[in-house]
């Protein structure tokens, strides 16, 4: 097992299968709010759900409605298990994650996009700021 250090942003220790997205992710527009299924046309994981997954991606993009999408998903128990950002976490998505109870780490010391395959079992500790797989 390997452990990579990152910056802990939102607390919580969770495990789940990885979902690795190579491009910046927009919660508003890329995800169906009822199901958590990725609906963005041409997305590498179109048709897959982010619910219960450890979402590993470079950074968040798009509208400030993203925080709301996380909150709506959480009300239906369809939120991701954790968010792992290669770059800085933006305040908007952090707000959504805090209310939704989704652990967040960011600014990982290594580029996980190349290291972790989608589906791999990953543990995230939002307080310690670590990712283990």
């Amino acid at each position: 097992m390997r452990t990579i250090q990152a910056r802990g942003i939102v607390k919580g220790s969770v495990a789940g299968p990885a979902l690795v997205c190579r491009k910046a992710f927009s919660f508003l527009g890329d995800v169906d709010m009822d199901t958590g299924v990725i609906i963005a046309k041409g997305h590498e994981h179109a048709g897959e759900s982010i619910a219960g997954r450890v979402l590993i991606y470079p950074e968040t993009k798009g509208s400030s409605g993203g925080c709301l999408v996380l909150m709506v998903l959480a009300k239906q128990q369809r939120q991701p298990a954790a968010l792992v950002l290669m770059k800085e976490a933006d305040p908007n998505i952090v707000e959504g994650a805090i209310v939704a109870g989704v652990a967040v780490v960011c600014s990982t010391q290594e580029d996980l996009l190349a290291l972790v395959p989608s589906g791999a079992a990953v543990t995230v500790d939002g307080t310690a700021g670590t990712i283990s797989f």
């Binding site: 400030s64 409605g65 709301l68 909150m71 976490a89 305040p91 805090i98 967040v104």
Partner: protein, 420 residues
Amino acid sequence: MNLTAEERHMLDGQRGPVLAKALDYLVQFGEAFGAERFVDVIYAHYPAEMSIYRGNVEDAVEYAGTGARVCIPTTSSTLACDLDQWDKLGCPRALYDLQAQVVDAHRRMGVLGTYTCTPQWLGFVPPKGSHIISVESSAIVYFNSVLGARTNRGGIFTRYSAVTGKYPLMGYLLDAGRRGTHLFKLHLTPDDLKHESDYSALGFHVGALVGSEVPVLDGLPRSTPTQLLALSAALATSGSVTLFHAPGNTAEADSVEQAFAGASPKATYTVTRKDLQAAYDKLTTVGAGETIDFVTLGCPHATLEQLRHVADWFAAQGKRVHADVRLWVCTNRMTRQAGQWEGIVPRIEAAGGFVVSDCCPVESHMRISTCHEHGLPTPQIRAMVTDSTKMARYVGDLIGCKTALRNRDDCLRAAVDGRA
């Protein structure tokens, strides 16, 4: 974070579970970004536009039901319909009903029903150095830059700051976050900056180059509040600017040197008329003389003075809006009522225009995502003429029509002719 005794009491639940939870969220938020302590915020501008999304109306109603109340002056940002004229403007009853629930929830919480992107035109002008929290990107840039109040880009947590009166000391609240990063030397004549649309084009050009950093505009002539708001809105359209400095116009830096606080610019650019023209060209996707069917003024929401200009133009020309064109002049409800009293609104309406409040074309039943949400047919708008780069930029994606960026008088001419 280091908390005061008062804040600790709030967090411990001694002032009730609603405030305890709100402050707990803000502590987590502050700690995520390394804030050492809280500051007291004196004003909040509160989000309302997201109420068109499923889940958010229920959330607003549920939160009001907890008994939460704002403890500082709190204005509200735009809704997705005009509360008085929704029917006349083609908004479906279902969307109005949804918005009415949000209005009721806000009232119960003590949020003022201003429903505008320009609360500063209603007298909400926080003083230099004060800490506030605001949504609405154009207002955020105006508050920070023109007034020198301090705010980050607010989101849903604006709610928790409004009920606790607290915000973590971080980002643009700190002196270190407010230094200039990029220098723009303006080689522009007064003629180049005659219209508000010229300021909008300038902001659009600068915002695209500076992204989310802090531009310093050297050589901006003394400008009016509406010109500076046009600039602010555009900076946050092509970029995600939160603060700019323009010595002689903005609150904090009297000179370029002061704006950079001793540091050197990361990059220096020269801006000429050509750059402004490029913004006009980029946002104009209909050919000159082509048929247009929509004209929007008042992005951001117009002042009483701007409404008067429109009324005076129609009076001077003695013309009416073309039968196939809709003219929306957007403002807030209080300014519309003042315009009614002044006789300005009746004159615009007599010429065939609408003076719309609480919303705008992008925040309305014409937004494609809103249509999908409510099972409505999408709007069949062919081309919109506007004097705002923000409106032009967003209608392309959100309403799916062609656009033309023109100065205000040319927009009105297009409304009369039905051609760009």
